[in-house]
Point group: C2
Chain length 164, copies 2
C-alpha cells in the first residue's frame, strides 16, 4: 500500500527531507571521491572521464551533442574541453557544414587512454559492494527519478502553497 503524502505533517517532512535529499548528495560525493582515486593515475577528473566515455562510445561529436548526453551546457563543457585539449586527449575543430558548431574527438593519446581506463569501472563496482542486478536496479530508479525531476514545471515549486 502506498502512503499518500497528504497524511504526513510538514514537521515530519522537514526531517524526512533532510535524509532523502542529503543521502543522494552524500552518495554522489562519495562516488566522486572513489572515482577521484581511481582516475588520478589517468590525470582525469570525474566529469572529464564522463566526457571521454561519451567520445569513446560515439566518436567525433559537436559540443552540443556531448551536452545532451551528459545534460551539461556549453558554460561547463567549453572550459572542460579546453582542459582536455591542453592535456592532449581531445581535439576540437569548427565544423565545415555549420560554422557555429565545434566538434570534439579523442586524439591518439585519448584513444590509448581508453585501454588504461578499462579497469576503472570494475574497481568502482567492487567498491560499491553491489551485485550487477543491484547496480542495474539502482541505475534505473535514478534514471526514472531524473526524468521526472527534469520534467517538473518550475511554477509548481514557487508558490508558497498552491498545492491544495
Amino acid at each position: 500500500m502506498k502512503t499518500t503524502l497528504g497524511t504526513v505533517r510538514d514537521e515530519d517532512f522537514l526531517r524526512l527531507d533532510h535524509q532523502i535529499c542529503f543521502s543522494l548528495h552524500a552518495a554522489t560525493r562519495a562516488f566522486n571521491g572513489v572515482y577521484r582515486g581511481a582516475l588520478k593515475e589517468l590525470g582525469l577528473t570525474y566529469p572529464q572521464y564522463l566526457v571521454m566515455l561519451v567520445l569513446w562510445e560515439h566518436g567525433e561529436l559537436p559540443v552540443k551533442k556531448i551536452g545532451e548526453h551528459l545534460r551539461l551546457d556549453s558554460g561547463t563543457l567549453s572550459p572542460l574541453l579546453k582542459r582536455l585539449e591542453a592535456a592532449g586527449y581531445v581535439e576540437r575543430r569548427r565544423s565545415a557544414e555549420d560554422e557555429r558548431s565545434v566538434t570534439a574527438r579523442a586524439t591518439d593519446a585519448g584513444t590509448e587512454l581508453r585501454e588504461r581506463a578499462l579497469g576503472v569501472p570494475r574497481r568502482i563496482a567492487l567498491a560499491t559492494g553491489l551485485s550487477l542486478e543491484e547496480i542495474r536496479d539502482l541505475r534505473e530508479q535514478l534514471a526514472a527519478l531524473s526524468a521526472r525531476l527534469d520534467a517538473v514545471d518550475p511554477d509548481l515549486l514557487e508558490g508558497t502553497c498552491a498545492t491544495d
Copy 2:
C-alpha cells in the same frame, strides 16, 4: 541469484559504468535544479539549506559538528557560513571553552525562515512522483552505498590491476 562481477568483460563494464555513475550524477543535478527553484524565494542555495536544516534540528553547533553531519570540511563550510551570516540567517562566535572552535546558530531571521521552508519538502516529494515508501527505500539504499564508498581503502583504487 547474484551475478558475480567476474563474469563480465571489461568492455561491457565500461558501458554499464557509463550508466550507473552518470545516472547518480544526473539525479543529483536534477534534484539540485528542483531545489533551486523551491529555495529561490527563501534566498538559499541547496547546500545552505542543508546547513540550516542541521541548525534547526540541533541548535547551536561548532563548525566541526556541522561538517560531520553533512560530510563537509571547513574549506567548504567557512565561506558558506560567512554567506549565511551576511544574509542575516546565522550568527557565528568563538567558543569560550575552546578558543579554536567556532559555533554557529540560527538568528531570529534564520528561525523565522524555518516556517517559510516548511512547505518545501512536500513540494519536492511531489516532484519526485515517489511514494513515501519508495523515498525511504531509495534513501536507505543510498545511505548504505555512501557508507561503503566512504569506507573504501584508497589503495584498492590505485593499482593498475592488483584485484586478482
